[in-house]
């Protein structure tokens, strides 16, 4: 057995391990993306929502979406009576759901794309088909998409939906009416139609001020927290809730105040930073290979000493 060679291999293994660890260890979190004051968003005040679902109807009209029959009436009666979606789907970009057991805790909550400040879907998309727009909407480009569905995994709110029934499927989700209305200076369809004033459309910075003012004006009605101001690095759609009802009970997760893509991006960044880790591993392996080949050459035998 060759002691010096053994030592060399150990050093090589240790160096390789260190390089691999450098790849795996998360780098310092990248700087948080700051919300642009020009970004539009919505404020959903769950204390005001009366559950009339006018927003859902307006959304379906605006985006020309099919009604969904989930009550079995189509099978039983031969005709579809209701639009009754159970969750977000390729036909339903926004949905009102009721939460809470006790009477005073019953709350209607609107779901739709949150139009995050630092969207996980945009970070995850392999081709960059999902992008944050200058007006604040997170826009999906069907022509660029490959249909890998990684955005559905990435989104902490599970918003992007897939057309499971189509031969050539695409991702479907709320557009913030970016192209159909915002560009014409109109508010989103759902906000425009809400009879209870539960959906307020506007610039995100303004909406935070409005929300703050509502909490301050009625501190015994509202929980003193604006959901989405900081959650997952900030969202474009903000929420208010009743004092006795936690956001988590409304399906709005108790998430950290940082983007969910922080860890994956810092690991990726580590690997690609000047390509140092790959080049380091390559050089170490190359060195070991050269060493072994020279040893074999010097020994003049094929096969060599295989023990270690």
């Amino acid at each position: 057995m060759d002691i010096s060679r053994r030592k060399f291999l150990k050093i090589g293994a240790a160096a390789g391990g260190t390089a691999a660890c450098a790849v795996a260890a998360p780098a310092q979190a990248r700087n948080a993306r700051q919300p642009d004051p020009q970004w539009y968003g919505m404020l959903n005040d769950s204390t005001r929502c009366i559950g009339c679902k006018a927003c859902m109807v307006a959304c379906k009209k605006e985006n020309k979406l099919e009604a969904e029959s989930t009550l079995g009436e189509k099978e039983a009666l031969g005709e579809q009576l209701y639009d009754a979606p159970r969750g977000l789907s390729e036909h339903t970009y926004t949905l009102i759901k009721m939460h809470g057991e006790k009477e005073q805790e019953k709350t209607f909550v609107k779901t739709q794309c949150m139009h995050c400040v630092d969207p996980a879907c945009a970070s995850a998309c392999i081709v960059g088909a999902l992008k944050k727009q200058d007006n604040g909407a997170v826009k999906y480009d069907a022509g660029m998409c490959m249909g890998c569905r990684y955005c559905m995994v990435a989104c902490p709110y599970s918003v992007p939906q897939f057309e499971w029934h189509k031969a050539i499927p695409a991702i479907k989700k709320c557009t913030l009416c970016s192209e159909t209305r915002l560009e014409k200076g109109e508010p989103t369809a759902c906000a425009g139609v809400c009879p209870a004033g539960a959906i307020t459309f506007g610039k995100r910075t303004e909406l935070i001020k409005i929300a703050r003012a509502r909490i301050d004006a009625a501190p015994d009605v509202y929980l003193d927290h604006i959901y989405g101001e900081e959650e997952v690095g900030g969202t474009g759609v903000l929420y208010l809730t009743k004092k006795q009802v936690a956001f988590a009970a409304l399906g709005l997760g108790d998430f950290d105040y940082k983007p969910v893509s922080g860890l994956t991006e810092s690991i990726q960044h580590r690997i690609f930073q000047y390509f140092i880790p790959p080049i380091a591993v390559y050089s170490i392996l190359g060195g070991i290979m050269a060493y072994n080949q020279r040893r074999k050459h010097n020994a003049g035998i094929e096969g060599g000493d295989d023990e270690y």
Partner: protein, 394 residues
């Protein structure tokens, strides 16, 4: 190297080949519905489980189980253990077939499969998938080059194309000669590149699900996940070589390479030990070991996964167990199952995307997965039958 690898030249049409073709045919039937009537007509995928068995098994496990290629190449070519060179060619061929099938599986799983080339053109550097896609693509090319010498060795100087194509015999031979020269000069570069690329995407597959901190169970959500994926892939490399070597010997009626396999198996406990140390250390450091015993599906899945990793480690540490072909085969199988279960845990079982949905692969999903496996086995048979992959019995 004193013993030459030769094509097997066995009879091609056997009962086993018919069985493989049957599986492939049933896969084709379901593939028709997948491509012309949408995912819903074949799969049980739903909004809460956008990734199913095609990603968890065909892609994640496919990549991990093809690790035999780069681990064997590294041990023999880089670390100079030339005693095991007989294992390199089959391992590299299997890796090539494995990655080819991974690419094919991705094609089946993509909604807009015809846009697959967008990964080359539209870059999004923040995406883990971007890195995986590039590494897999480059590594597949490297594997093709690493397999090229086998083709050259077989056909150089005796190119005999059928019928009117025979006019191309001379140019083809000239090309093979060029390829030979190219391979001889650059093989070292590609061997190392293959290992580095494997490090890259094996670990990146572990980074993939870290984008979902609120969906992936804490037993698997760890910043160390890329390193764990890499070390577990390295650990399963040799077990795959043992698994394939043993089965190939059985099905092709050859003498099993017991001595070689027992020899190279001494590295298994080394790699497994490293993995287990990292895995346990990570769980202990994050203080989540207790959740493994809470009786939940995820907790039990973890315990099974861990046992499948740990038991072969303790058995294979003993030289005598490694020299027992049956025990070695069973231990290798255990490590393979452990890695498969681990990938399933990360991509499916450990993912909780809400209480309203559940997922179990449909008949169609299984059929297409089995079709891929059958296709892989068939390609392996074609490879060893017509190319100099396996060495003569000695």
């Amino acid at each position: 190297m004193n013993i030459k690898a030769l094509p097997l030249r066995h009879r091609f049409w056997t009962l086993n080949v018919a069985v493989l073709l049957f599986f492939m045919a049933s896969g084709v039937v379901f593939a028709y519905f997948r491509f012309f009537h949408g995912f819903a007509s074949v799969t049980n995928l739903n909004p809460a489980y956008p990734f199913g068995i095609w990603i968890a098994f065909d892609v994640a496990c496919g990549v991990a189980l093809a690790a035999g290629g780069f681990t064997t190449a590294a041990i023999v070519e880089i670390f100079g253990r030339h005693r095991y060179h007989a294992l390199v060619r089959p391992a590299i061929l299997t890796a090539f077939i494995g990655y080819f099938l991974v690419g094919l599986a991705v094609f089946f799983d993509l909604g807009k499969y015809y846009n697959i080339w967008h990964a080359l053109v539209y870059w999004n550097g923040t995406s883990v998938l971007f890195e995986v896609a590039w590494c897999v693509m480059l590594y597949l090319s490297v594997l093709a080059i690493e397999n090229l010498p086998n083709v050259v060795e077989q056909f150089r100087g005796r190119v005999a194309l059928p019928g009117p194509l025979s006019a191309l015999n001379a140019p083809t031979d000239w090309l093979l000669g060029k390829a030979d020269g190219f391979c001889r000069r650059t093989m070292a570069f590609f061997v190392i590149a293959g290992v580095v690329l494997s490090f890259g995407h094996q670990s990146s597959l572990g980074t993939m699900m870290l984008i979902a901190p609120y969906k992936l169970h804490e037993l698997w959500y760890t910043p160390l996940s890329p390193l764990l994926f890499l070390t577990s892939a390295v650990s399963v490399g040799i077990p795959m070589v043992v698994f394939e070597g043993t089965l190939a010997a059985k099905f092709f009626g050859r003498k099993p390479e017991t001595e070689l396999l027992s020899g190279i198996a001494k590295y298994i406990p080394l790699f497994l030990g490293t993995y287990l140390l990292l895995r346990l250390g990570d769980l202990a450091y994050r203080g989540v070991l207790a959740t493994a015993f809470d009786g939940s599906l995820q907790g039990n899945a973890f315990l099974l996964e861990f046992a499948l990793f740990a038991v072969p480690y303790f058995i294979l540490k003993r030289r005598r167990s490694r020299q027992n072909p049956t025990l070695l085969f069973l231990c290798s199988l255990s490590v393979i199952c452990a890695v498969v279960l681990n990938r399933f845990n990360v991509f499916l079982i450990g993912m909780d995307m809400g209480p309203e949905f559940n997922y179990f692969p449909s008949v169609g999903e299984w059929a297409i997965t089995f079709a891929f496996i059958a296709f892989g086995v068939l390609l392996y048979k074609i490879g060893v039958n017509y190319l100099p992959i396996l060495e003569e019995d000695h």
